[in-house]
Symmetry: C2
Subunit: 464 residues, 2 copies
């Protein structure tokens, strides 16, 4: 069956980017939060041994490295804010809970929300309303009224329907509606590529090329009670390359200049969106916040010079790039199954006590993750593994490809890094699974920010 392989000898069906590790116990530092380390094979985060944490909170659990989250937030604040004057909005959709919203504010960042529920969490955390941005492609009149009455700092307007609604609410309440216009520049970026077209076939924004964006700006600029702050452009996700930003900035700033020239309005701000990538596996090598800040600022300054524009007040919206690497998920192995594949090789299927209910990204986006043993060292040779969940679905995969120690067995703890973004926030109760807690760790102390669901929680809405 050829399941146990010496390092370097593997000839099976792993993807080209996945090397047989020299040491299957070692952490790849850029995949992990900054306090993560192994001590005699035992994973420690925030000064806490994971088996000790598991003894008190059980598995599966998300583990949030508080120092790491704060450090990444600060790195964006320093690189973009302190050095170049940007506002940095943490994109709450990646992951949001009340205490984490406080950390965002404490570190000097602003906060993006995109729903009534996220706004509730932000206000519950005491985030100053003027430091909140409100996104979304379908904000109701009621939601917009609440945002404006609460004094939300800016509402990102996404359609003509919303143009009408913010004008109506501003008129009705007499309160200022501070807005930006979400525009589509025809650029869609992902990893190292971008696609530039005239038209974007997507639900967000108002198109620059179709003139809808200019028309929305024209109406808002003329509306009493509306404080039009500027344009907003978001071009993609998990981006490693600034080339897409360059094309988008050229198109967005051309509109910015046209607004000045034709409407006589100098828009004071510009938001460049988010989408900055993180390392999920060894194939990813993201830029640092300071390198990103230099790149984006140079792009904007260059275009503004060419258009004879004053550089507007800039903002960005990292979400995943802050919280993604700050969390990992810890599972307990339940079953180990060697499955024969064609060609005489095999794959070791390792089932854990969670799955697509706590991490839908692998199935939803064909995303790659990595994994490591968290509770012990192993001197067994690595085998090609696949980490799967316990849900009744063949596509319930957590980590598609990873080398794991050949002696992995039921009861082992397994940790998957990079699960801070879009995992707990998209978690479900599929198969009546109970969603795991989010446990912050810092200085050797755990603190449950989001508790584990109970069966009572789960059945609360089932009226029997």
């Amino acid at each position: 069956m050829n399941a146990h392989l010496a390092p370097g000898s593997f000839t099976g069906t792993s993807p080209a980017w996945l090397d047989v590790p020299d040491d299957v116990n070692a952490l790849v530092p850029r995949l992990w939060s900054q306090t993560a380390r192994k001590d005699a094979g035992v994973l420690h985060i925030g000064g806490l041994a994971i088996p000790d944490l598991v003894a008190s909170v059980n598995t599966p659990t998300y583990v949030l490295d508080e120092d790491d989250f704060r450090a990444r937030a600060r790195a964006f604040k320093e690189a973009f804010g302190d050095r170049h004057g940007y506002d940095v909005y943490y994109a709450g959709k990646a992951f949001l809970c009340t205490e984490l919203a406080r950390w965002v504010q404490q570190e000097g960042l602003c906060l993006d929300v995109c729903s009534n529920g996220e706004l509730t969490v932000a206000l519950r955390a005491g985030v100053e309303p003027e430091r909140i941005g409100y996104h979304g492609n379908n904000k109701t009149l009621t939601e917009l009224r609440r945002a404006i009455v609460e004094g939300v700092g800016r509402i990102i307007v996404d359609s003509f329907d919303e143009v009408d609604r913010v004008i109506a609410v501003a008129g009705e309440t007499g309160l200022p509606a501070r807005v930006m216009v979400r525009v589509t520049a025809g650029v869609e970026a992902h990893t190292h590529e971008y696609i530039a077209t005239a038209h974007e076939d997507q639900k967000f924004g108002l198109s620059i090329s179709s003139n809808d964006a200019f028309e929305a700006v024209r109406r808002l600029a003329a509306a009493p009670g509306v404080d039009l702050r500027g344009l907003h452009s978001h071009i993609g996700s998990q981006i490693f390359d600034s080339a897409g930003f360059e094309v988008a900035a050229r198109r967005v700033l051309a509109l910015h200049a046209r607004v000045r020239d034709e409407l006589g309005v100098e828009l004071p701000e510009l938001d460049l969106g988010g989408g900055f990538g993180i390392a999920y596996t060894t194939q990813d090598d993201p830029s640092s916040p300071s390198a990103l800040a230099e790149d984006l600022t140079a792009i904007v300054e260059h275009e503004c010079r060419a258009l004879d524009l004053a550089v507007p007040h800039l903002s960005i919206e990292p979400g995943r790039a802050i919280v993604g690497p700050s969390m990992c998920t810890v599972y307990t192995v339940g079953t180990v199954k060697e499955v024969a594949l064609d060609g005489g090789v095999s794959r070791t299927y390792v089932s854990v006590d969670g799955g697509m209910s706590d991490n839908i990204r692998t199935a939803l986006y064909d995303a790659d993750y990595s994994a490591t043993l968290a509770g012990r060292a192993s001197d067994a040779a690595p085998v090609l593994g696949r980490v799967v969940g316990k849900h009744c679905e063949a596509g319930d995969i957590v980590v598609k490809h990873e080398f794991l120690p050949g002696d992995i067995h039921p009861g082992d703890l397994l940790a998957v890094p990079g699960t801070g973004a879009y995992c707990r926030s998209m978690a479900s109760n599929y198969n009546h699974a109970l969603r795991p807690p989010v446990v912050a760790v810092k200085d050797g102390q755990p603190r449950v920010l989001v508790r584990r669901e109970t069966e009572d929680d789960l059945l609360a809405t089932d009226l029997g």
Copy 2:
């Protein structure tokens, strides 16, 4: 912009299977539950006008047609059970709540669960334990102990780890462990295709070709306290064609015969799994339960004759095929946006007040759905629409392609049929969305089976 098209004149980017409808108000009957009808453009289900229902429960909401669910359950029971002696297990993973589990039992079906939580719901509903099947690829010792102590009718064993566990629990408790062995036959079926290989690269089951399946049967057959009922094979999902079942049955029954010949054990049962398809759009034309029953029975009888086997007691496990068409989701339109595409055509993006949080299938499986206005008739010409949700993600699409009346506007009610399976069961709180209720309708009366989540529910686990 060419957005308003006369029927038959459309030349844009809709898929080949999607015809411009003669009447954009008309229901396509096979996509809908059996009591669905339109009266002057107003959708009625279970004798209740949808706008009246919405007035009391709001949107988004799942609407469950009780008569339809019971009729589909009965149709499987009659075609497979009454006529051919099968047990019919409703696959609870598709959708399960307490009251619906009662309906399953009342209609004479058995119930499949695949987790501790689903077992709790089944027992809470009063389903007789011996009529419950317990699935899953990673059942813990604790879960297996509970299932055996409760007297669950059969446990579908999925790995050697589970073989060891059921033998251990049977020994420890002195209670009979009634088990089946989930085997993989190297057949993977979907819609009108199947793939047959020697080896299956998936987490479920024990492989026939690698001999693991026989070895698991050998161990279980020899274990005291274990009541080995038979083999279990499940080959795919949303299947419209019995060719895959034929290949799988041949391989599974060959193992069944080998067990008789080499171990001297006549396994009394055989489970053919589920995966029977439903119509999501006009491109789907599924078989009736009675046609399926004739096909599958003929396949099994033919193979048994060839192998000189008595036909074992058979069972099947429809989930989607029962509950899928019984539910629809009703949304309110929030924004309507005409997006210019290349080539001078456009697409009308219709945003509703739900999305990937209540139906992840479109994004997860690239699934197709349909939609119709639920609150009024329209005499506007159809436009090519895309129904999208309100989540902060470009992939948040509910219906990729549908012709909708050109005058669709905010406030319109829109209904999406075929959302009974894997929608509420996989629903999330992404963007802090509140999950919709499941409202059963029958004889003009609504009844909330699963209530809408509240913000308090949502924040119950966020410790602040």
